[in-house]
């Protein structure tokens, strides 16, 4: 589904990703861990097409299409979703209006019919209920006045409504208490199927207790330096990232 080869990304002229290779197959769950400043969030932004994240070398294909040629919204319509580490507040725009506009923009770009208001609301209400979120949030401005946990859960509501092929979760677990963490993990697990893939960026093993990744990668200084199964995450939890230095030495 996603194939990244020799990716180099610079931000403000400084190279952050320095030759990254990663393949994500359909239905796979990949976790990316790594120390602060290793380039985890940069990878998410670069794949989403955010301005200022300049791909200087390498290639990314997504379902056989050159992802780097697509505009941000074209990547979304193609099925890419980035759950932000710090979801943005949009004052004055209510959640329901925004989410329906986003869904219909994607559907229109794919040549699909727009969803009507009734069936849209039914689907969103179901998701809110599953994530134990108050329905009143639909009428509130996007993320405005939301607690940290509500913002993260709201990202999962968007994920569930937009139904992307590949979801990148950028530290969606940060700032969550254990109950909210479980709700988010359950939300993600409900969306797992043979076609939908995930890249979960996280600092901590605890999210991976609830979301069982198929693969774990360690990102350090802009490159994937170690890959393995879940046991790699457990080792990182026990030993920290110090063993990376030892391996290099």
């Amino acid at each position: 589904m996603l194939k990244i080869e020799n990716l180099h990304v610079a931000v403000g002229g400084e190279e952050i990703i320095k030759g990254l290779d990663l393949s994500v197959g359909a239905g796979e769950m990949h976790a990316i861990m790594g120390p602060n400043g290793s380039g985890k969030s940069t990878l998410g932004y670069a794949l989403s097409g955010r301005e200022g994240y300049e791909v200087t070398e390498g290639s990314v294909t997504f379902d056989g299409v050159d992802l780097l040629e697509l505009e941000i919204e074209q990547r979304a319509a193609a099925g890419l979703f980035l759950a932000l580490q710090y979801p943005v507040e949009i004052p004055g725009v209510n959640n329901a209006y925004f989410l329906r506009a986003a869904l219909n923009a994607q559907r229109k770009a794919r040549g699909e019919d727009e969803v009507d208001s009734m069936s849209f609301l039914k689907s969103v209400r179901e998701q809110l209920k599953l994530l134990k979120m108050d329905e009143a949030l639909l009428k509130r401005a996007v993320n405005e006045g939301f607690s940290g946990g509500e913002k993260k859960r709201n990202e999962i509501v968007q994920l569930a409504v937009l139904q992307p092929k590949l979801a990148i979760l950028d530290e969606t677990d940060s700032g969550l208490d254990i109950d909210a963490l479980k709700l988010v993990a359950e939300g993600v697990n409900r969306l797992r199927d043979e076609q939908r893939s995930f890249i979960v960026i996280t600092h901590y093993q605890r999210l991976l207790d609830y979301i069982k990744p198929d693969f774990v990668h360690v990102l350090s200084d802009g490159r994937i330096v170690e890959s393995g199964d879940r046991s790699l995450a457990e080792r990182l939890e026990r030993e920290g990232y110090a063993f990376l230095d030892e391996a290099e030495a």
């Binding site: 989403s48 941000i72 919204e73 949009i90 004055g92 925004f98 770009a109």
Partner: protein, 409 residues
Amino acid sequence: MGSLNEKLLAPSVETGDGFDALRRQALKVLMQHGFPHRKVENWKYTPLSLLEKRAFAQADAPQASWPAAEVPAFAGGLIHLHDGRLDPARCCLPDGLRLEPLTPADVDTDALDQTSSADAFAWLNIARLGQAWRLTVEASIADPIWLVETFSAAFADAVHPHLVVELAPNVELTLVQSQTADGAGLVNGVLEIELAEGARLRHLIERASGETARIQRTRARIAGRADYRAFVLDGGGALTRQELILELEGADAHGGIHGAALLHARSLVDYHTAINHRVGPSTSEEDFRILADDAATGVFNGRILIVPGADGSDSRMNTGNLLLSDSARINTKPELEIHAEEVSASHGATIGQLDDTARFYLRSRGLSDTQAIALLKYGFAAAAFDGFADGPLGDWLIARLKQHLGDDA
């Protein structure tokens, strides 16, 4: 070109209608102090060169043809001025509302400055007083009353409508002042509002973009427990100067100003607001936003005054401004003047551009950049109207807001 005195003043003619003394008084102030210029602090950012370039006709005859006033089906009544003139036969008001000619005793000049040119246009309104009306509201009306002001494309006059609105104790009304701006004339209006004890007025002002120069002074006197809230949606225009003055004159009076001005092309729009807490406890809130695109200029000056002894007053003001092009300009100034000890007052002012992170966020969910910008502009403006109204009037306002923002909203 020519001086505004030459263009706008006319020799005093005695008409015997009871207003002659007032007209003479006004003319005297104008002859003495003239019209404001940019060295007058309150007019610093609002050049009147547009008026100096225009030649105003002085047609006194009513227009031969009146357009239909566009009001929604849920309107509870209509007052329609066309080219600045009112034909009572074309108004339609429910029981409890009475429209009648103004009497000289209704004209309040006490609050006008006689020592400078600061209030020159209000004096001009009186000096040139022609048609003037008083609307008395003696019963609560559930459905909003529309005050429609239309202008023909050929409108090139200088007109000076004067309206006094009085609400009896404890009555409630929603007044929607809806203005077009098609002709290249000047409408120099005065609207005096008086709310008796416990009265409530929701006053929506909606202005379409156009060539008509608009100078409007609106003053609301708010008695104890009364509640006045203005909601302004301004689509820009060649020249608009709105003075909006709220006088909180009784205990537990409340005043609110909420507005969004959506400016484009070469619009010049200036809102000077003043909320005067004359008595405490009294409360007020203000949230005014300007979005300036192209080569538009927006001015906001919001003044809060709490006089000595108005203890227990609470006032909150916020002005948010978005610059949408390199050529647009916004001048914004909150002013707090507090002479009482036991009060709570806050103000905030921001000027910025569209947030790139928010744009990215919206696009990452599938919206095009054009849609994202439109949605951010919409959200920024709509936030000024939080809690305005549910139901048809709220829907109407949002629809008008989207229309002002263009097709992408």
